[in-house]
Every structure is written in C-alpha cells, then in structure tokens.
Symmetry: C3
Subunit: 262 residues, 3 copies
C-alpha cells in the first residue's frame, strides 16, 4: 500500500503563521499525514529558485509523495492551479513554471484544478496555499481524490524557468543557480558535463577556480570547484563564504573552461 506523505515547499518563511495554517488545513482533511518541510525560505516570489531546488531535490523525495509547492506571485490572477503526475509522485502548485520540469517528462500528465468541481468554495485572493493547494494536496494524499479527478487535462503549461547550461565548443556556460546557507555557489552545471570538457576549472567573477574533490583541496580562504551532493558543480571557499569572497549572487555567469584553458 502506498504510504501517504506530503512534501511542502513555499516562499512563505516560518515567521508568520502561513505555513502553520497550510498544515492545519492539510491535517483537517488528512489527519496526521506526515509532512516534510523541504524549505519555506525560497526567495520570495522566485519561481526560478523554487523550481531549481524542487528539481534538484526530486530524486530524494519519497516515492508516491504528494509535493505541494507554492511560489506564486500571480496568486489571485488568471494563472491556473495544477496537479501534475510525474515519476510516481504528484505535484500540486501554480501554473507559472514551478512544476514545468516535472510536467515535461514524457509520462507526465497534468490537470488544472477546477475548484467548483471539487466543492472548494471561493478562495481568498492572496492565500491559495491555504485555500487551494493544501486541501487539494491533502485529498490527493489520502487517495480520496485522484489526480485525474481534479479538473480538465491540460498540456500547455508554462515552461520551466530553470536555466540550462550551454555547451559552446570546448566550454560550458552556466550560472549560479542558488547560494546555500554557507555561501557555497551552486551552479546549474552537472558535474559530468563539466568534467567532459577535460578542463581544469571554472571562470567565475573574473577568477579561475580549479576543480577539486573536497573542500580541503583549497587552502584556508581559497576557492575550489567541486561536485556537490546533488551532482552539480559548486564553488566553495574553504572555511569561508564563496559568495562573500567573490561578491557574486544568483544569476552570475560561470564558465567551465576547456582543456586549453580558454
């Protein structure tokens, strides 16, 4: 039997009671279903960051998880609310690109939520996390509602905003996708793609940072480019913050330089 479980990801923070209210609604509909807080500290309204972390985390989420993701600058407007079946999991969230990576899989099927059909009433204009996504996610988790029952099948979803790396000759162009708590700069470049260039490192912020295997391959205060725990190129600064050291933030260009150093 499938073990019901909900994964939550939002940009609500945990300072205000917004996440607590989502859980209250979830547990009103699905008492005690386990809830994983993936993170609630997505940069406010950054669909791109939310989409990136969700895709990057996906492989470790429990099979059959119902993933409720809310980064929703268009709340209250005409954007659709979605349920996407993808890879054994079910994703619930706004149609703004956040779930695009999941919906673009060959076997994925997406449906738009029809509030009337579900008898959910009129939601508030600004808090669909509580009024739409939480109750729909809860009913899906319990199995009382099937993804195909939430509303009409849709295929014209907003595409994923996650930036993809580009191979340009012997080089790979990518960018800093997110920065973690420790100031490590996480790029959108898969490690195998970077290593395939047979280059010796990356060009970022005007500096060449050589590849290493662990943080300790750099001198204290020095930089290293390594494979992080998600299989991506990450630029780290030993015992310090690479973000501060390079004064860079999300979106900055990162080049994997080729074998000849160009």
């Amino acid at each position: 039997m499938k073990q019901p479980l909900i994964v939550l990801m939002t940009d609500f923070g945990v300072r205000d009671p917004f996440v607590g209210l989502m859980k209250s609604v979830i547990w009103t509909h699905a008492p005690g279903v386990p809830i994983v807080d993936l993170t609630h500290d997505i940069t406010p309204q950054s669909v791109r960051e939310g989409a990136f972390w969700l895709r990057t985390s996906e492989g470790w989420l429990p099979p059959h998880a119902v993933v409720v993701a809310v980064v929703d600058p268009g709340v209250g407007g005409p954007r659709r609310a979605l349920v996407v079946e993808s890879g054994g999991r079910v994703f619930v969230g706004p149609d703004n690109g956040l779930l695009g990576f999941a919906a673009s899989k060959v076997s994925a099927r997406s449906h738009a939520i029809d509030l009337t059909r579900l008898g959910l009433g009129v939601p508030s204009r600004t808090f669909h996390g509580r009024d739409v996504f939480a109750p729909v996610g809860a009913r899906l988790a319990t199995g009382r509602l099937a993804p195909t029952e939430v509303g009409p099948r849709v295929d014209d979803l907003v595409a994923s905003p996650i930036p993809e790396p580009e191979v340009q000759g012997e080089r790979v162009k990518g960018e800093i996708a997110v920065v973690d708590r420790f100031g490590n700069l996480i790029t959108n470049i898969p490690w195998p793609l970077a290593r395939a260039t047979q280059g010796r490192g990356v060009l970022v912020g005007g500096e060449i940072v050589t590849f290493g295997e662990t943080y300790s391959d750099a001198l204290p205060g020095g930089l290293v480019a390594l494979e992080n725990s998600f299989g991506l190129v990450e630029i780290a600064c030993r015992d310090a913050s690479a973000r501060e050291r390079l004064a860079l933030s999300v979106g900055a260009e990162v080049w994997v330089i080729g074998q000849d150093g160009s």
Copy 2:
C-alpha cells in the same frame, strides 16, 4: 473519534532547542501525536501579537485541536496557567490575556492548572513551556486528562489585549496589528466594517491609500488597501514592502476615511 492534534505557538524562535524540547516532552507523554507549528516567531514577550495571530488563525485550526500557546513574560511569577475550552478546541497557556479572546466566548469554560493535582512536580522557574504547558497539552490531546480535571474553574481571566477598531461617525479608527514577512501591514479592521463606511480608502502614515481588490491594483511601488486572506484590511505595496515604504510599525494608527473623504 476525535483525532488528537496539537497546535503550538510560542515566542521561543527555533534557533535554540526550546521548541524541540517541548515536542520531546509532548511525544514522551503522547507518542507521535501530530504537532502543527503555527509559528514560534511571535515578537518576544508580545502577548498582544500572539493573541492577535491566534485569534486570526483560529478558524483554520483543526476542530478538536489542543492549542498550546506560550508567550509568557510572567513565567515563574504568580500568573496562573490555564486550560480554556472554546469552540470545540482546547487552549493551554498562561493567564496574561493570550487566551482571552477564546475565554470570552459565551460557551467557553476555563480552568486553572493545579500542578500538584496533576502530579507534575515543581517546574523550572523559566520554562513552563516544557515543564507545564507541554505535558498538560499532551495529556489533554490523548484524552487521558479532561479539561475539567486540570484544576479549579476560573472566570476572572486577564482580558484580551487585542486592540479593537472603533467606529467614530463615518470613520473607523484602527491600527497596524502585525506586519508580515513581506512587509504587508495587517490592521485590526475587518474588511466589511471598512467597506460599510463607503469610503475610498485609509489614512495611514500621512498618506491616503485607496481600496483595491488585489496587489495589482497598485502601480509598481504603489500602495493599496485590500481585503487580506483573513478578512482584514491590509496595506500592501506592490512589488515592495509597505512597512519600508511608509516607515511604520505595529501600533501605528490607521483611519478608514468616510464617504466624504474626511
């Protein structure tokens, strides 16, 4: 059968292990009972803010929830510890006004916690969240303890400190009750009360902010007064922080101006 569930709200933050210790005690007494963290970031010792958020959130908390609320500047002193039955839910917390909104309902019944009767031993002087409210809440959630059994019935509770709006002729005087993560200014004025004035907006921080329906009714960087997801008047700044834009904080006056603009 009632599904046991505990809702926690405190001003402890989550940086220190205080909330984790409350949960450890709860799960020692009531293994695995679901716990919702409403928020732990109430401004330290602000009973008023805690009471406001609790009352505002109440309608979405699961029926039969046991709500353990700890904002407790008087801990260790003579203030009583309470269990309040109200509206199908049970509230546990200090007698300092935090639970006043719940206790003031006609059908509510309040009891003072008698530690000796409950065999709880001598609590620490500074952490009744762990030593009193957590174990009492846990026993109430499991049903092993009834609210009427915790101690004597009491009726002379400290009143709620939540500020109430005042109707003054065609105008309504209220205040900023809380500020959320996004810098939205949440007032204590119910939207229907504000609209009943047939006025065109609110006067706040020397500016007149007109009513709108969504954030997008303002120009980028502009202000709008709208109905928020709790049915209250909220002052928001499109794509920015109203708090910063108006340089205002909790307690600042807000006037709903009348139909003639006065």
Copy 3:
C-alpha cells in the same frame, strides 16, 4: 513496545532544503516515524556548541529516541560515523566529539558504521546527513537494524569538547557555553556547584553579577545570575540582552566568586 522516534540536531539551518532532504530519506526508510527537530541552528561547524546543547537537552528526550546529530566539519574525510547506545537512547553522528558525552557513560557501547555491510552505497562527499546518518537512523528507529549490526565495536572515540568547570579553592571557573535567542548567557557551571561556594555571585566581563531567583530580581536593565531551566548558572539582563549589555560571547570566562568575595 518501544515507540520509534527520531530526534534531529544539525547545523544546516532551515533556509536550504538540507533538513527536508534528511527527513525525506528518513521517511522513505521509516514512513511516518515521528521526528523532533531539536534545533538546526547550531553555529555552523561548532561541534562544541552542538555537543553542549545535546548533553544539556538529553534528559528531556523521549526514552528510546534515536538521536541523529550532524555537526560535521570533517565530512568526506577519514572521520568515522558512529552509533552510540547510551542511557536507553541511540545516538548517530560523526566521530568528532559530538557524541563523546554519551559514549563516555559506563554502560555505553559504540559501533562504527560500515557502509558496505549496510549496503548503503557510496555517499556524496559533503552530505552524509542525507546519505549516511538519515538512512541509518531510520533503520535503527524501525528496529530493522540493531546498533550492534552497523559495524565493528569501537572504544577509541574522539573525546567530548564540552568545557568542564574547574573548582579552584573557594571559586569556580567556567565559561559562557551558549547564548540563547534572548541574549541570555548560559554557562557550563551547574547551579549546585556554584551555590556550594556560598558566594554571592559571578564575575563576568569585569562585573560582579549577584545571584537571584528570577529575572525580576534585577532592576530593569540590570543583570542577575540565576539557575536556568537546565540547572545551570545563567546570566540574564532584565528586559534586555545580557550579551549586548556585557558585550560578551561564547567562550568568555565566568568566575563564581567565593564567600569572601574573592
């Protein structure tokens, strides 16, 4: 029957999805097992602070809890991963002193985790919280894995870095071990040890702070040394932050002065 339960403590913060991924892995292996977040805001890489809070909290953790603790600056290097049975609980974490207090108990037994024996595959170099400690902790919690089965018995663990107070004649020398959210300075000096000196207070930051029973034993803005909820000497400032008032931080010396004031 033992009620399975996991306690988590890390220095990962909750801004990034690292803790959410640990829980995802735990619930993949042990669906729905209750998880207490003791704290995830240990100062990054401070094994000493993590060890202090863990030992200080231990008495309130549920009996039979599986405690997964990750403060792990040596991740990816040669440091061992441990499972320590101690006092009815099971501790899982790196061999860097974090679990030293638990392992040093007379009846404690420690084993080093053998990933190959457990069929866990090759972990990432930087995130053993997700790849080693979470799955091992989950299997221990369900009882499918016994502590003695994880790998070889070991006895030469890295010792605890928790600083111990020293009795010097009539005085006791200690230090500020952690500072809480409110700016209270929590020392490593047990209250009974301090009181045994029959002295009248502590010398800290060049000031003598007299003993009291509650925060209200100080004037507003004044300092007091009292027994905190963990049975330790704590220096607090009424209605303010002792850290800011004294401009001190972790590691600063604290002396309990003797009866003659020396």
